[in-house]
């Protein structure tokens, strides 16, 4: 039946939905087999999967907060009582007791749940033009989420200070950071987003990344999770445009700026994370596959560049199933299996192999 399935058929298939939405490991094997046996359905399955996951995510981002749910219910119940008081009298006592304990129970459940509610400005701020700098300082011991006027978000680590204009200017979005923060920037090609931290500036259009720039540290670091960012010294002695002195970083890359010599170097972050959705990474199993194919899959998953000699590796084949290992552990496993080695050069992985027989 699967060979003739359309996207619609997959989306309605109970087994398929369960696999995508619940992600049981036992289902993986079954669907890996389907993929293997029906390679022409690969694109359809991927599309269906992608659509289903995205739809669910989109629906769930619009869920009300638990507080909203709670308040709304109180409002409903109050209005409902205004015209009909009678039902209360009809109620047996045990029923009233049961519903009170149910409400208490639900209340407990609400409060015990992790509070995901985010701080958001009460009114759209973009309307008022103001030069005044808004200043947020995280004096708590946990991460503080700040919603910026353009919808971007900054997660401030403890002892971190962020300043920004109450209304971002028309042409530029600019924040000033002391300490460490993770940014998720709303995409807007017309208005670059700049993070000034100490002596360096990080410029993006829409992406997520972390800047670590504590005053006491000798180095400033910028780590990219998604998208691309440009990192450069805020002032340059060599070029009129300081951006020319900088680097472009892609996901899982990190720039380190040494204050002493104003030098920027590029490397990979300590623990590169997959840039693909987790569901897709799960399908990482290979049966007697060419090494080049496996390396390309890793390149794609982590968005890193792996340099190798395709001709030299042409006889290397491998059967392996990679799971939760991080990038470097995966590389260790693969290289050991084929007697190769690798090193990091300028944020790229260079594989050295004598080839296989």
């Amino acid at each position: 039946m699967y060979p003739h399935y359309t996207t619609d058929d997959f989306l309605q298939d109970t087994a398929f939905r369960k696999w995508v939405l619940q992600g049981e490991a036992s289902d993986d094997a079954f669907w890996a087999d389907v993929l293997l046996n029906h390679p022409n359905q690969r694109a359809t399955i991927r599309q269906a999967r992608e659509l289903l996951l995205t739809l669910h995510e989109r629906v769930e981002t619009d869920f009300p907060s638990e507080q909203q749910v709670n308040t709304l219910y109180k409002r409903i119940w109050k209005s409902a009582q205004e015209t009909s008081v009678r039902p209360w009298r009809q109620w047996p006592v045990w029923l009233a007791a049961a519903s009170i304990s149910l409400i208490l129970g639900l209340g407990g459940w609400w409060f015990s749940r992790k509070n995901n509610h985010r701080i958001s400005p009460d009114e759209p701020m973009g309307q008022i033009v103001s030069d005044r700098l808004e200043q947020v300082r995280n004096n708590t011991s946990s991460v503080l989420i700040v919603n910026l006027p353009d919808g971007s978000q900054a997660s401030l680590e403890p002892r971190t200070q962020l300043q920004y204009r109450k209304a971002f200017a028309d042409t530029i979005r600019e924040v000033f950071l002391e300490g460490e923060a993770f940014f998720e920037v709303q995409k807007n090609p017309d208005k670059p987003f700049l993070v000034h931290a100490n002596a360096i500036t990080t410029k993006v259009l829409g992406t997520s990344f972390r800047v670590r720039a504590y005053d006491r540290d000798q180095q400033i670091q910028v780590m990219v999770k998604t998208g691309r960012v440009s990192v450069f010294p805020t002032q340059s002695t060599k070029h009129q445009d300081p951006e020319k002195d900088g680097l472009i970083l892609t996901p899982n890359q990190q720039a380190t700026f040494t204050k002493a010599d104003a030098h920027i170097t590029r490397t990979l972050v300590e623990k590169p994370a997959p840039i693909l959705p987790p569901a897709e990474v799960k399908l990482f199993s290979f049966r007697n596959a060419p090494l080049a194919e496996i390396l390309q899959a890793i390149e794609k998953t982590y968005g890193v560049e792996i340099i190798f000699d395709e001709e030299q590796l042409s006889n290397c084949r491998l059967t392996t199933s990679l799971g939760s290992e991080n990038l470097f552990e995966k590389m260790d496993i693969i290289c050991e299996a084929v007697g190769a080695s690798y090193k990091l050069v300028d944020a790229r992985i260079v594989v050295d192999s004598k080839g296989c027989d």
Partner: protein, 206 residues
Amino acid sequence: MKAIGATDQEDQRYWNRFRNGEEAAFSWLYQRYVRVLYSYGMKINRDSNLVEDAIHDMFTDLWRTRSQLAEAESVRFYLFRSLRRKIHRSLRPEAEYPQPFTAETDHWQPTLASVEANMISDEEIALQSARLKAWLTYLPARQYEALILRYYQEFSYAEIAAIMNISEQGARNMTQKALQTLRRLALVLTLCFLGLGWLLKFFSGK
């Protein structure tokens, strides 16, 4: 959390208890459905106050008229249809589909222009879910609504037709059209991807 693991039979059981005036059952139904209803409402209209009010009115009415309510074959269907009507009734026709939704005839169009913007659209290719999200926002509102009813709420085409006030064939067409747009978009992006790979090879080969 969507279903809190409940079934249609359970729905009916609670529905009947609620009709008998049991608040616990009423609150159970509210808790089970308020999140998906709210989210659905927000897809029809981005005004959260309006959506909250519609949900408030709907549930308040339900409680007040409970003794006149019939047995429900599908509680979910009943609630979705009532909410949609409530929201539409509180809107003037021209405000029915505000931004970012566009009219039925609108298409997805790549609008980025500058070099930097191209950089971002490359990145988009790698980030599939992000791209799909963007695509969904450009999808005509009613197609999007049909997709959600079909593949998130798992309504039948007959139910979608009744909720959206269109024919069953219309519901079917709308869903299929949305899937077609997706396929077309996927093809375009695949071609871009291949082209990019070819270019890279071409240059690194030199």
